[in-house]
């Protein structure tokens, strides 16, 4: 619907999972740009343009953040708290994408104002379906703040 591709920031420590997300988004016909960081500290550095992310053209402001919860150094919930506490980033939709279906994790994520919580499915086709639906919903149908 919108001509400009949306920048998606993926914070994911498992390279295999990052690859899965990348392939799915590539496979769907939704035009977008995926930026991948492999831990929570890196995600914050990306947003705050620190430690190697200082070039705005190489680290554009994301329109959507895909966040894993269990990550080295700074974990996902911590990153989420910081993002949602900062007026500069509070409007960026944050979708939690994790293997954990533990209730406390889900509750904590929403307590920290996550916009959505997705559990990585164990099934290949379901993972593809989830990512496709995710793409349509967040990048086509959902009205993002400017």
């Amino acid at each position: 619907m919108q001509g400009e591709p949306i920048v998606v920031l993926l914070a994911e420590d498992d390279p295999a999972h990052a690859e899965i997300v990348r392939r799915n988004l590539e496979g769907s016909r939704i035009a977008n740009r995926l930026e991948h960081v492999s831990d929570g500290q890196a995600a914050l550095d990306y947003l705050y343009r620190k430690n190697g992310f200082s070039n705005p053209s190489r680290s554009p402001r994301p329109g959507l953040i895909l966040l894993d919860l269990r990550m080295p150094k700074v974990d996902g919930l911590e990153v989420l708290k910081i993002i949602k506490a900062d007026p500069a980033f509070v409007r960026i939709p944050v979708v939690v994408l994790t293997t954990s279906a533990v209730e406390t994790d889900i509750a904590r994520a929403y307590d920290c104002h996550a916009n959505s919580y997705l559990v990585k499915p164990l099934d290949f086709s379901k993972f593809s379906e989830l990512m496709e639906t995710f793409g349509y919903y967040w990048m086509i149908w959902n009205q993002n703040p400017g």
């Binding site: 390279p15 080295p72 150094k73 954990s100 290949f124 993972f127």
Partner: protein
Amino acid sequence: MARRYIHAGILLCLLLWPAALAVAENNGPRSVRVGAFNYYPALFQDTDGAVKGFYADLLGEIAARENLKIEYVYGSWAEGLQRIRSGEVDVLTSVAYTPERDAFMDYPETPLLTVWGELYVPLSSDMDSILKVRDKTIAVMKNDYNGAYFVDLVRKFNLPCRFVEMAEFDDIFAAVAAGRVDAGVVNSTFGVPKQRAYGLRSTGVAFNPFDIYFTVAQGKNGELLALLDRHLKESRRRQDSVYLQSQRKWQYGSVREIVVVPRWLILSAVALGILSLGTGAFVFLLRRRVRKATEVILEREANLRQSAEMIELLLNSTAEAIYGLDLQGRCTLCNAACLRMLGYEKTEELIGTKIHGRIRRSPADGTPDAGTESSPPGRDGTHVVDELLWRRDGTSFPAETWSYPLRRDGLVLGSVVTFVDITLRKETEEDLKEKNAEIERFTYTVSHDLKSPLVTIKTFLGYLQQDLASGEEGRVQRDIGYMETAVDKMALLLDELLRMSRLGRVVHTSVPVTFRDLVEEALAAVAGPLAEKGVKVQVADEDLTLYGDRRRLAEIWQNLIENAAKYMGTQQEPHIEIGMETLGADRVFYVRDNGMGIDTRHQEKIFGLFEKLDPESEGSGLGLALVKRIVDLHKGKLWLVSEGCGLGCCFRFTLPAATNPQGGA
């Protein structure tokens, strides 16, 4: 009470019985007529007209006992004989035996008296032998056996004299005394007591001793005769009988009173006897009751004492502390556990004092808490799961308390408070909480970290099928690569999980091992990586003996050295220093490196299970979690000192249970 009335009834019956008896016996006494003549002192008519004498006493007693009514028909001796012959009288007294009399009278076995005849003269007379009766005038009683005998005797002696017959002995004595005759023959029974009254004396001429009897008319009144005989026998045998006593009294003028026991007196005596028996029985029963009641009271007292002892034993043997309060909040009782827990030695230290002011204080500063001092607990009591109580020495401990109101007849008299020291429980609870949290973390970590590679494998299997179908060789290789990595990761995770779980379960025997030996062992295990990175290791000279599981202790140093070697970063001269120092009472061990160090922001996270700061680094993130666990097992602490990135880091830890085995595990 029923028994009391029964007793009263018995008593009343006993009192009334003799009266009833007397009424019954008054029914028609048998009338017996006795022929009487003047035979002093056996039987005579007194001046008042009444017949008296010891026969009368005897007959009176028999009459009383046999329910007879004695009627005397008074007359002369001869008239008496005539009357018994004619049947006018039933009984004649003082009858001597003669064959002639036997013809018309029946004699009993027992005689009334043995008597004899005696010759009496005035005191002035000189008659002292039978021979001196010659030519004298002698008075005898008409029909008297003695008189007849004397007449016969004198005739046998051939002594001429005159005889004058008189009706009664009294007439004879009167005649002798008056000098109308010279002497008189009377029965000894009469003479002995009467001589003095008439101023006469016995001549000493005594004769014809014989027995005299009660007689009845022949063939009549045999039953009466037997009855008289029976009583006479008994009376003569017993010295205290009415008959003998009466005889003595009349005959010898003894001043002794005759014991005459009237019927009413006997009945009264019987009644009194029965009364006293009844009273005795009553007293006996009363005594028994009193004894029984006393026994019951004593038993109750013993039971009370026993239950009091039991209560005291219970109070003092129970593990819970117990104390009682009155309405003013003063301590009324406290048991041994209470004293012990509160740090007092004697009950007296607490009894009577306002105990809540001492043991319930402000949690913050220990000042007495006035609010709780004397308010009694509500109807169902109060229960405080966790509150602080203060000991005598000013220390406090957590306790669980229960207060219950003490009531009697609906009135609150005070309260009873029990409490237990829950220090240990709280510690255990804390331990359990920690353990639970650890288990939760563990399951969470495992579920997450094991699920991740599974997702990878499943998904890339899907891609693999797609890529194989489309024949994209390069993508197939990459797919397989991701899957392999995931499988390796899973295998590693499972291995380490196993190691971790073993740590909690397997306990090897405790052995003494030196610090240097442990470090040597650890260095040998990680010799490969150390050599690969060219790390120099410096071990302190100081040595110390530790006690514990050798392998496990060595694992601490092994993991820390391995960790240091792994994160040397870009350090050109990697260096590890191993040693120990004394910090207060503790021995503190350290492993220091000059590697990349750890960002202060992440320092808390590093001891978590499967936490890695660098996703690219080898290992599962278990190493430091393992070290933490072993240090915990030895009641020690593990902490990290690092100035930050690029400044190296130093792990420090204590092992109290291994360095000071007495005080530890």
